[in-house]
Symmetry: C2
Subunit: 264 residues, 2 copies
């Protein structure tokens, strides 16, 4: 369990202080936080809370959304928040096509350019930008970076440690070429996240993910691939699921730990 | 309009004879048929109907589903049906994972093996098996062949004309490597289908596709790619959409023609 990290979105409705207390009680030493609940509770208070609880923050989710007019200021704020929370990993979800646009290639270029603009600020703060390729079903409305290759092509324009890639089983499992690429990625792997694929997908396809073991993704080959790459960092379980979210936080945490154990 | 083909599923609730009459009235010379409505109306009657109307059948949709116990007999029947309808193109959708299975790689091997078993029968009948890579969001429950490369790798194990690939904009648009691959595919392109990507996706993600021009896919680069490959065959519009299906057949056909014209 030493590498397990509880990603806050998995219990979206659980108050931050209760979530922290619940993790401590359960012997969980690592959490991943989300910007919105942190902002709601207060950045400084959140940082104090996790520090006093002795928890490690494995990543801050999430910034990016480079098609938004305010993207630059917002992403710099996200870097500051990551640093304040004591995590060196900021997960980036690129955002979809601009409203009314069909220029997918152009949107992807804009993401690469935007990250290049953001890198100096993040590097100065000691924060690694962890580009997350999202499943191709999100290409239009959430994230135009949809494959491992696309994320790596951007990351490799920058020094190791400044820009990396997020490995999330949910987004990558369909790709028959991805395991060998992950295994060769070395220190480019910034964070490793688990979620399982269950069907049918719900409307909007965002909140129908499964706890590890509940779906059809073989997790062991992913574990082996990140191992081969030399990744020894946290393994977050990050699951967005409307039904799961309705359960009490402690039950969600227990189910998440059980799911994690079932696939380790 | 000479290359336009009206894919029957676009007006799923339109009776076959009325659909045929509607196409003739509208000056549409080509249709793609689906197995279920053809079986319902009767194979021989359907074949007579389209022949008497002077229509060309550009493809029969669809066979495959190789995880089903009866797949071999069912696919041979589909080959016979294609031949009886006078089309040389049978679209193959591979089917998803077997119930309870997580072995995606194994399912993909099984598809390749199954197609190899089917090829002699189809070749004898003069029917090209048109492997359709479906969007990665269908990998678990509908089709384990999800990329152009996967489909081509199977097709290329067989002679040109016996096994080809279906180019469908809806399934391939997210892939930043696909256009150049299509342009190099030569005679492997068995059929070309248009549908547009609209969001949000509905539950089940099957019946929320858009008419060409209504979504965010740039169709011209796809046209250019199939042109470069030397493809001169039919361009089917194949749209599954719950809202569209509620309209009268003639309105759907008119909207489909308008959508097609808007992107040509």
């Amino acid at each position: 369990m030493s590498r397990f990290s509880f990603n806050q979105i998995t219990a979206k409705l659980w108050d931050l202080p209760e979530m922290i207390a619940g993790c401590v009680e359960a012997g969980v030493g690592q959490v991943a936080l989300w910007r919105e609940p942190v902002a709601e509770y207060g950045l400084a208070r959140s940082a104090t809370l996790v520090r006093d609880a002795g928890l490690t923050v494995t990543s801050l989710c999430r910034s990016g959304f480079f098609q938004a007019p305010e993207w630059f200021d917002d992403n710099r704020r996200a870097v500051d928040e990551a640093a304040a929370l004591g995590t060196s990993v900021l997960v980036l979800v690129s955002g979809g096509l601009p409203e009314g646009s069909k220029d997918l290639a152009g949107a992807r270029e804009h993401v690469a350019d935007s990250i290049a603009r953001l890198v100096p600020y993040a590097a100065e703060a000691g924060v690694t930008l962890a580009i997350e390729p999202l499943h191709p079903m999100y290409a239009a409305d959430r994230c135009v970076i949809n494959t491992w290759d696309q994320a790596m092509a951007i990351a490799e324009q920058h020094p190791v440690g400044q820009v990396g890639v997020t490995v999330d089983t949910y987004h990558l499992w369909w790709d028959d070429t991805v395991l060998e690429k992950i295994a060769r990625a070395g220190e480019r792997i910034a964070i490793y996240q688990l979620a399982d694929w269950i069907t049918p997908l719900p409307a909007g396809v965002l909140t129908g993910r499964g706890l590890p073991g509940d779906g059809c993704i073989q997790m062991r080959p992913f574990h082996d691939a990140v191992d081969k790459a030399g990744y020894t960092g946290a393994i977050e379980v990050e699951v967005m699921n409307d039904v799961l979210w309705q359960r009490p936080g402690r039950e969600i945490l227990a189910a998440t730990i059980a799911g994690y154990r079932s696939v380790r």
